[in-house]
C-alpha cells in the first residue's frame, strides 16, 4: 500500500529524524514510537502527503484517511451532521453515520454541537469518521490521546476490525499505550545523527 525508503524531511537545514524505511502492506499495523518532538507527527504528515519529503522516496498506491491533532470538526454542527458531512465528502452513500456514531460510543451526544463536546468525545467523533471513509490506509496521530479506558478499548476494536478486513494503519504513540492487538509492529523514530548541520 505504501512504501517509503530513506525518507526524511529537513527543517532549517537539519533533518528532523534519521531516514526511515517503511513498507506497509494489507493487514499491517505499524506503531511509531519516539519521544516528544522526535518527528512522529512529521513522518505521518509525510506519509499522508501533506508535506513533501526533502529526501527519499515515497510511493502510496491507496487512499489514506488522516486523523491529526486537529480533528476537523465543525463546532457549529452536531455530531451527526459532522459525520454526515464526512460521509458526503468521502462520497460513500452506503455508509451510515448513525452506525458509525454508535460504534464510537457517541449515541448519547448525537445532537450535541461538536463545540460543546469534551476532548475525548471529540476524538471519538473524529475516529468515527474513519468508519465512513473508504480509505484502506489509516494514518493516526496519537489516537489514544484524550481517550478514556473505554475509548482505548473501543479504538483497539476498530483497529482490529480494520486490519482484520485487509486494511492497514500507521499510528503514533508516545506513551505506554500500545494497541492490544497481536502482531503489530513498532518503528522507533530516531533523532537524526548530528554533524552536517549548520
Amino acid at each position: 500500500m505504501l512504501q517509503a525508503s530513506r525518507l526524511t524531511l529537513e527543517r532549517h537545514f537539519h533533518p528532523v529524524f534519521a531516514p526511515v524505511d517503511l513498507v506497509v502492506g494489507r493487514g499491517d499495523l505499524w506503531v511509531l514510537t519516539g519521544a516528544n518532538g522526535s518527528g512522529k507527527t512529521t513522518l505521518l504528515r509525510l506519509l499522508a502527503g501533506l508535506v513533501t519529503p526533502s529526501e527519499g522516496q515515497l510511493a502510496r498506491s491507496v487512499a489514506a484517511a488522516w486523523v491529526g491533532h486537529r480533528l476537523a470538526l465543525k463546532d457549529d454542527l452536531d455530531v451527526l451532521e459532522n459525520l454526515q458531512l464526512a460521509r458526503d465528502f468521502a462520497g460513500r452513500t452506503d455508509a451510515d453515520p448513525l452506525d458509525a456514531a454508535r460504534k464510537a460510543g457517541l449515541e448519547m451526544a448525537l445532537d450535541q454541537p461538536a463545540g460543546t463536546l469534551s476532548a475525548g468525545q471529540r476524538k471519538r467523533c473524529a475516529l468515527a469518521r474513519l468508519l465512513l471513509s473508504p480509505a484502506p490506509l489509516w494514518l493516526l496521530d496519537e489516537p489514544y490521546a484524550n481517550l478514556d479506558r473505554d475509548g482505548v478499548t473501543l479504538l483497539d476494536g476498530l483497529l482490529a476490525d480494520h486490519v482484520g478486513a485487509g486494511g492497514a494503519c500507521v499510528m503514533s504513540t508516545h506513551g505506554d499505550l500500545k494497541p492490544a492487538i497481536d502482531g503489530y509492529r513498532e518503528l522507533a523514530i530516531l533523532p537524526a545523527p548530528p554533524g552536517d548541520h549548520w
Binding site: L58, A63, L71, A72, L73, L77, A90
Partner: protein, 230 residues
Amino acid sequence: MNATVTTPPGKAIGPIFRRDLKLAFRRRSEILQPLIFLCVVVSLFPLGVSPAPERLATMAQGVIWIAALLATVLSLDTFFRDDWEDGSIEQWAVSGHSLALIAVARAAAHWLVAGLPIVLLSPLLATWMQLPGEGVPVLAATLALGTPVLALVGAIGSALTVGARRGGQLLSLLVFPLYVPVLIMATGATGAAVDGLPYNGQLGLMAAMLVAAVTLAPFAIAAALRLSLE
C-alpha cells in the same frame, strides 16, 4: 507521490457547497456584519461630506464601490481561517479531491451569502448617495460582475495569509492593489452610464476579469493552501 484515489474529481463540490451554506446560516451574524458595515460606511458620507444631492451624486459610485471592497475584505479574513485551524484543510488535502475545485465551491458559496446581498442592496445604497437613475442598473451589474472577482482574488490572499498571525492586516495590504482594476472599471462604467456614454466596454472588461479569476484563481488558491500545510 502517486496517490491514486478512486473518487472522481468534482465529487466534493456539492458537499462543500452545502456545508458552507449550512455553516453560514448557523452563524448569521458573520454574514450580516460586513453588510451592516457597508451600509454604515455609505451612510456616513452624506453626514460627513455634504448632504447636497449634486455633490453626493458625483462620488456615489466611488463611495459605494470602496465600501463594497472594504466589506469584502472584512468577510474574507475568515475565509480559510476556521478550516485551517480546525484541520479541515488537511482533510481536503489527504482526501485526494481537487483543492482547486473545493476552492471554487467555497468561493461560490461565499459569494452567494456575502456578494449577492451587496448586489441586492445596491439600489438602496444608490438612493442614499443620490446616484442618478441611469446609473443604478449599471452599478448593480458592475457589482454582480465584480464581487465574484473580489471574492476569488481575496481567497488567494486569505489562503496565503491563513497561517500567519494577524493575517487580516496582511491580507488587506496584499489584495487591495489587485482590486484596483476592478474598482476603476466598475466606477468608470457607472460614471459613463450616468453621463449617457457607452459603458459596455468597461462591462466587457469586467466580464473578462471574472472569467480569468474563475479559471485561474482556484489554482493559485490550491497552491497557497498546500503551502500553508508545509
